[in-house]
């Protein structure tokens, strides 16, 4: 019953999104605003209907309605309630419906929000977003329907893949999708501006929060994925440069470039074409990610069910979106020439330019690494995989370059500083950085990249702190405030700038985590009998025994391991789980997480009656990655609090033509 309601709601929603696509175009061409309002109502109703559809599928899950094919394939009676709800995005069909729902929801919010402030763009925004949503709904309804019934319903379902029964995996996809879909809004505003041919800076101002929000979601989604890989997959690492991981990382890199370069357009009215290019590319890469994941052109450890029919459709859809938007950009570019030129290579805008170049090159290297195997397979016959060695060679130097710029940035001002004063302000941070690098080389770090990273991190911290300190001092002398008050005042006055600083701190922390775990991981593969002990780093592990344990829908063999180390004595319980209805055992790594390092123990197979295989890792600084990402999230939240104050200031200067409502 519920699934039919969901199905019907989706069909009507598709019709409404088609109306939403066409009506505003008619309205604009015939100068009949009523048609634009029809488009708006259609988008609201589509959002409502798709919410109903999502509810219908979720309720089918909660009711254990195994006559629904999608439910039967992704749930079972023993599946806990929590995973029963989130199994909605446990498979291909549900994920796409979820995508479409988010898209419709964001569209409705954006249209409601910007209706009166951006009247000129709204019709095109409605139309573009409607087209994208309907594209996804066609895919959902005709090629991968989650609404199919089984004529012969099984008593119990096939259950959710046990690897997905993990909190990390519950949150990974929705955040990623929110990021992908969120970028559709700035994308739509950008394309609307191109169609309008009146390319003011308003699209940038309108979508600043959307961009920040989507970037935050994408970041969180990627981190959740890495976290899940680390805790659930049991291979001791968190990132494998798998095509599907890259698919989420590429839009992130380009979006990060966009995030920085929009500031240049806001302040200096430069980089206009560049910004349009970046946001279109970001969204294009989001679609590309969907294509890569869902079509099966690349074999990947993610091994989703692939289907060439869907692949052909998504490819055609992507081709239309890409050719239309990039074509439009090329076609309209000449109207956008800016007269403003870079005045100095030692200016903020130049720093942002280099930051952008580095990020885009980083994105290109990932794209190349992702597509190269596909090209080789298509034009040759052999299979190749591009993995960590390639990325370590080309990617790390680029990232180190970005770290360097991150430190130089705060020392620069718009329009440029004198070479001499720049050198002056660079001296101290550079010396701190060099000293730190040298010291770390002497003490612990025996790898050039490690030492360089330590030096750069110190350099960036010093540069940021100096900037904040100058700000505080200035404020204290101007207003006579105390230090804490001045600090608070400084931060809240320009939330975006200092939110950015906080994000930078988070990234520095993560960089330390990447270096620590990437360069200094220690791994031991061994066979232990009961009572054996092993020493790794500062830890001594004693394998006590194997016991049988049981959960709601799984049984496991669990090793009891006594650990003695600097953090005192404790026990670790790595498991080998077999979920009900599944053959493949999954590993549940036991992890002790500390500030300095993680101890990571994986239980392998029984070798003889009394001996077991173990893999034991010492992963230095991994917790810094998770904590750093937390700091990043705080920074983004802080920056999101920034209202429209900046834009108003610019508007008063007359650089922005704000449009009044209809």
């Amino acid at each position: 019953m519920w699934i039919e309601i969901a199905h019907f709601a989706t069909i009507v929603a598709l019709l409404l999104t088609l109306l939403q696509t066409s009506a505003p175009v008619v309205g604009v061409n015939m100068q009949r605003p009523v048609w634009i309002r029809v488009g708006r109502q259609a988008s609201f109703m589509a959002a409502g209907l798709l919410t109903l559809a999502i509810m219908g599928v979720v309720i089918s899950f909660l009711n254990h309605d195994f006559s629904v094919k999608y439910v039967a394939e992704h749930a079972s009676r023993s599946l806990p309630m929590f995973y029963l709800t989130t199994a909605l995005w446990g498979g291909h069909e549900g994920s796409l419906l979820f995508w479409a729902w988010l898209m419709a929801l964001f569209t409705a919010i954006a249209v409601g929000w910007h209706w009166s402030t951006h009247a000129r763009s709204i019709p095109w925004v409605l139309s573009i977003l409607g087209a994208v949503t309907s594209g996804f709904l066609i895919l959902v309804l005709f090629l991968s329907s989650p609404f199919e019934r089984l004529t012969d319903p099984p008593f119990d379902g096939q259950d959710l893949n046990p690897l997905l029964q993990d909190p990390g995996m519950v949150f990974h996809p929705p955040f990623l999708y929110m990021g992908y879909v969120g970028f559709a809004i700035p994308f739509a505003f950008a394309v609307a501006a191109l169609i309008n041919g009146r390319i003011t800076d308003e699209w940038i101002l309108a979508t600043r929060r959307w961009t920040l929000f989507s970037w935050a979601m994408l970041t969180t989604g990627i981190i959740f994925g890495a976290y899940w890989a680390y805790y659930e997959l049991g291979w001791g690492g968190y990132w494998a440069w798998d095509p599907v991981e890259n698919a989420s990382f590429m839009p992130w890199l380009i979006a990060t470039a966009f995030l920085h370069s929009v500031m240049v357009q806001e302040r200096r009215r430069m980089f206009k074409i560049w910004n349009l290019f970046l946001i279109i590319t970001t969204f294009a890469l989001s679609l590309l990610g969907t294509f890569l994941v869902r079509s099966g052109v690349l074999s990947s450890v993610h091994a989703f069910a692939s289907d060439p029919g869907r692949g052909v459709y998504i490819l055609m859809f992507m081709a239309v979106v890409l050719l239309f938007s990039f074509g439009l950009l090329v076609f309209r570019a000449d109207r956008l020439r800016t007269e403003v030129r870079l005045e100095s290579p030692f200016s903020m805008e130049a720093a942002f330019l280099f930051n952008n170049l580095f990020l885009v090159i980083a994105g290109l290297t990932v794209l190349l690494g992702t597509l190269y195997p596909l090209a080789v397979e298509t034009f040759g016959s052999s299979k190749v995989t591009v993995g960590a060695p390639y990325y370590n060679k080309v990617f790390i130097p680029i990232m180190l370059g970005i770290l360097l710029l991150m430190g130089v940035g705060p020392l620069l001002v718009w329009r440029g500083v004198q070479m001499k004063s720049l050198l002056q302000s660079l001296t101290k941070p550079a010396m701190v950085g060099l000293a730190g690098a040298g010291l770390s080389l002497l003490v612990v770090v025996n790898h050039p990249y490690g030492a360089i990273t330590v030096g750069l991190v110190l350099f960036v911290i010093h540069a940021h702190m100096t900037d904040v300190w100058h700000g505080i001092k200035k404020r204290m002398s101007n207003t006579g405030e105390g230090m804490t008050v001045a600090l608070m005042g400084l931060f809240t006055r320009n939330k975006r700038r200092y939110g950015g600083f906080i994000v930078h701190f988070g990234i520095l922390m993560m960089a330390m985590g990447f270096v620590g775990s990437g360069l200094f991981q220690e791994e031991k593969n061994l066979v232990l009998a009961q009572g054996d002990h092993v020493v790794i780093g500062r830890w001594k592990l004693v394998f006590e025994k194997i016991i049988d344990v049981e959960g709601k829908n799984w049984k496991a063999q669990e090793a009891v391991i006594q650990v003695e180390g600097p953090a005192g004595a404790f026990t670790l319980h790595p498991q080998k789980r077999v979920y009900q209805d599944h053959q493949m055992p999954t590993t549940e790594a036991a992890i002790f997480s500390g500030i300095r390092e993680d101890l990571y123990v994986v239980l392998g197979d029984a070798v003889t009656e009394t001996t077991w295989a173990f893999r034991i890792y010492r992963n230095p600084l991994v917790s810094w990655i998770w904590n750093g990402s937390g700091i990043m999230a705080l920074g983004i939240l802080f920056a999101l609090l920034q209202g429209r104050r900046l834009s108003r200031k610019i508007a008063e200067k007359g650089t922005v033509e704000l449009e009044r409502g209809t």
Partner: protein, 178 residues
Amino acid sequence: MKNLWKVILLSVVVIILVLFALGLENDPRNIPSPLVGRPAPLFSAPALDDGPPIVMESFRGRWLLVNFWGSWCGSCVREHSYLIELARKTAKRNDFVMIGVDFKDTKEGGRSFLASLGNPGYRHVFDPDQKVAIDWGVYGAPETYLVDPTGIVRYKQVGPLYDGWFEQIALPIMEKKP
């Protein structure tokens, strides 16, 4: 020059789209065997019929078709009638011999499979703990290898053999080499 970036941008987009379109033809399951062109792993393994062990070297000088199967494998049922026919058809050739490898199986399972579907007449290695299968890099069933008279693997078929396979795939390879 001024418009160079436009040409480059659009070309890159088109190239990527074309690459994807061509790439859709790729089958992610079609993984080439690193064994093709290399000497086949040697083995001397027990036989399913409890007769003398089957020794790989004894087939030197003849083309050898090695078919990996198991009674647990559904697609093996599908290709079985073709295997019987192929064995009958090629029985007269003295340059061609077939063997089966029943892996990851029980002796009873393998024997009742042959008893109920018909015995193609050639001998089968019994490989319950996949010693041979792992050496040969088998990751599914059925898989079939064509080994030349000098012991080099010339072809690997993933998935069941089909009507006309021998004429379309195997014979051209066999006739190319003197």
